[in-house]
């Protein structure tokens, strides 16, 4: 019996991964939001409001104080990612592998683009952003494995979206949200409670920040550069100073 246990412990030690520097950051403010199970957040292009989606398939517009100013009448299957790009709101529906393109002024879906992916129901696309450095939309699957999709033609009506690059990302755990800010990608992990800063061309992690937030599901930056993290389970927004190394 002792020999068995010793062998196990020895094998486990050899399988350890190398640790890297991690910076811990704490929120300076928390705000409850009237959005059930918020799953992602983005800043509007005019920087005057936020868009938030929920697990229940709902889309909300919030003011800069995180008060709901508009609730879309649209009902999505489920909604896990959101961005505002060229006056349209892009909503990622994880289970059906679809991106819905919404005109918020008319409150209607103007196009739906399917991006096939076979993995688990709850392990599909969790996040979306526009990678300005490579002039492509990018989507990440949640886990098992974390896969990056670079996509074009997502905004052209009547034309199928085209996946131009697909690669597995070398990260343990999961990815729950992504945003592009000042030339860098900022990626959120729910399971690891981390924010990663990624090189937008190589998709390599440059810096890691540890955050004490339960079930973090959405990430964006405020107009003043504060880091905004949405907690799904707590239904609240956590506001951090811009993270530094």
């Amino acid at each position: 019996m002792k020999f068995t246990l010793s062998l196990f412990i020895l094998a486990l030690c050899f399988s350890c991964t190398t640790a890297q520097s991690v910076y811990k950051i704490k929120p300076k403010k928390k705000v409850n939001i009237a959005v059930p199970e918020p799953s992602d957040i983005c800043l509007a292009e005019d920087k005057q409001s936020y868009y938030v989606v929920s697990d229940d398939g709902l889309l909300f517009q919030l003011d800069l104080d995180f008060k709901v100013i508009k609730k879309s009448k649209l009902q999505f299957n489920d909604a896990e990612g959101v961005i505002h790009y060229k006056s349209k709101v892009y909503v990622v529906e994880e289970r059906i592998r679809m991106v819905a393109i919404v005109d918020m002024n008319e409150d209607e879906i103007v196009a739906k683009k399917e991006i096939p992916y076979a993995g688990g129901r709850n392990k599909g696309f969790e996040s979306i952003c526009y990678n300005t450095a490579r002039e492509k939309f990018i989507l990440f699957t949640e886990k098992d494995p974390i896969t990056l999709f670079e996509v074009t033609q997502l905004d052209a009506d009547g034309v199928a979206a085209q996946v131009t690059n697909r690669k597995e990302i070398d990260l343990s755990g999961d990815i729950s949200s992504v945003t592009f800010y000042k030339g860098r990608l900022y990626v959120l992990s729910d399971e690891n409670h981390c924010v990663y800063r990624m090189n937008p061309n190589t998709y390599k992690v440059e810096v890691t920040w540890k955050i004490a937030v339960l079930n973090p599901e959405g990430i964006c930056f405020s107009p003043s550069g504060d880091l905004i993290i949405v907690s799904d389970d707590m239904q609240e927004v956590n506001i951090f100073d811009f993270p530094t190394e």
Binding site: F8, G119, D144, E191
Partner: protein, 388 residues
């Protein structure tokens, strides 16, 4: 122990590939996910010195499951899950039955969810934790389906409050547990009523034993459970074979009231569970064996049974390892002196999270009640579980 050493090293060296998870098919409205799992272990036992039956070691295929989970739009969900290994064996092991789920659910927005069909009964947090999310190969005696059923056919109403921090379920079932599919209902014609309410703080708490996310803020969940059946069989009628469970009081002719409390906590990879249950049984037949041939003055017409367990776990992300220890005690009847006590430990190495784990469980019997003596004193189970 040489066999376990050999198996442990072989499994570790050979099976290092990653799992790619489930498969999902969608037509834009209907989403179907197909998944499954296998698990197999080697069971080794130290037998009691005077035990003549030396059938102590065996290999076992515990699971060969396939699951179809679906969702149609935002209102309808369904789940169909079978374990082929248990279907072939033909038994109705309440911990590991052949048919595991066959239900459909309708969500009425802003009101409640309603579920119909065969599936887990919402009673006991431990029973609701999926097997492959623990380091153990076996649940505690009190929660593995011999004191109360874990599955049944019926209808369940579900409602959550306060940002899902309070979850309540109430259901009406045939009351025959896992054997209910063998018959229409028993001759008493009565149902079983089951309710559960759970309070979680500071956020909703999933039915998991292990804190693999290492939550940065301590989380708690407190559950209250209750169930009631009053099944009085007419003379000459019987319940289906196996429905009474290993100890004879899971289903019996008479009134059965069961209530329990469960508590769970987790923080930074540490997690703990505690659960306690009590049964009050009043057999309709005063000469029932459950009253142990005692007179009415001694029994007052009823018996009590129940037990509790406590479990501590630690998950190491760095070592991909789970360590768990557990102590459980149960009393099969207050009319018989004595009680049962067991201590168990478990070690699991995650090759690919919970999708692929090598698990080892050790159980030692500390005390035994005269009416439930096992043939062994110690048991080790070591094997591999793999989900696809």
């Amino acid at each position: 122990m040489k066999k376990s050493t050999y198996l442990a090293t072989t499994l570790f060296v050979v099976f290092t590939s990653t799992a790619f998870g489930q498969y999902t098919i969608s037509d834009g409205k209907h989403v179907l996910e197909i998944s499954g799992s296998f698990s197999s272990f080697l069971n080794l036992r130290n037998m009691k010195p005077n035990e003549l039956d030396k059938n102590n070691d065996r290999f076992s295929l515990r699971d060969a499951q396939i699951q179809f989970e679906g969702r149609v739009g935002t209102r309808v969900e369904y789940d169909f899950q079978v374990d082929i290994a248990d279907l072939i064996s033909g038994g109705a092991d309440p911990e590991n039955p052949g048919l595991m789920d066959a239900w459909m659910k309708y969500k009425i927005p802003h009101w409640f969810d309603i579920q119909a069909g065969y599936g887990k009964v919402n009673y006991s947090r431990s029973s609701l934790v999926p097997f492959n999310y623990t380091a153990f190969w076996q649940r505690t005696e009190i929660t593995r389906g011999n004191f109360f059923s874990r599955r049944d056919v019926g209808i369940t109403l579900m409602k959550d409050f306060w940002k899902k921090k309070i979850n309540a379920q109430f259901g009406v079932y045939n009351g025959l547990g896992e054997t209910t599919l063998r018959t229409t209902n028993d001759a008493s014609g009565k149902f079983e009523y089951v309710g559960r309410i759970e309070f979680c703080y500071p956020s909703p708490f999933r039915h998991r034993d292990i804190d693999d996310k290492h939550v940065p803020i301590p989380m708690f969940a407190l559950g209250l459970n209750g169930r009631y059946a009053n099944k009085v069989l007419p003379l000459g009628e019987f319940f289906p074979s196996g429905s009474a469970g290993d100890f004879g009081f899971k289903v019996f002719s008479g009134e059965k009231t069961t209530y329990g409390l469960d508590f769970a906590a987790q923080w930074m990879g540490f997690s703990a569970q505690f659960e306690i249950h009590q049964i009050k049984g009043t057999p309709s037949d005063t000469s029932s064996f459950l009253l142990r041939d005692l007179n009415q003055t001694q029994t007052k017409g009823y018996f009590l049974a129940g037990g509790y367990y406590g479990q501590l776990n630690y998950h190491s992300k760095k070592l991909h390892t789970i360590v768990s220890i557990r102590f459980d005690e149960n009393n099969l009847s207050d009319l018989i002196p004595g009680f049962n006590q067991r201590f168990s430990g478990a070690l699991a190495y995650q090759l690919d999270g919970f999708n692929s784990m090598i698990k080892m469980q050790f159980t030692h019997i500390l005390k035994e009640e005269s009416i439930s003596e096992a043939r062994w004193t110690d048991q080790v189970r070591i094997g591999w579980q793999y989900a696809f």
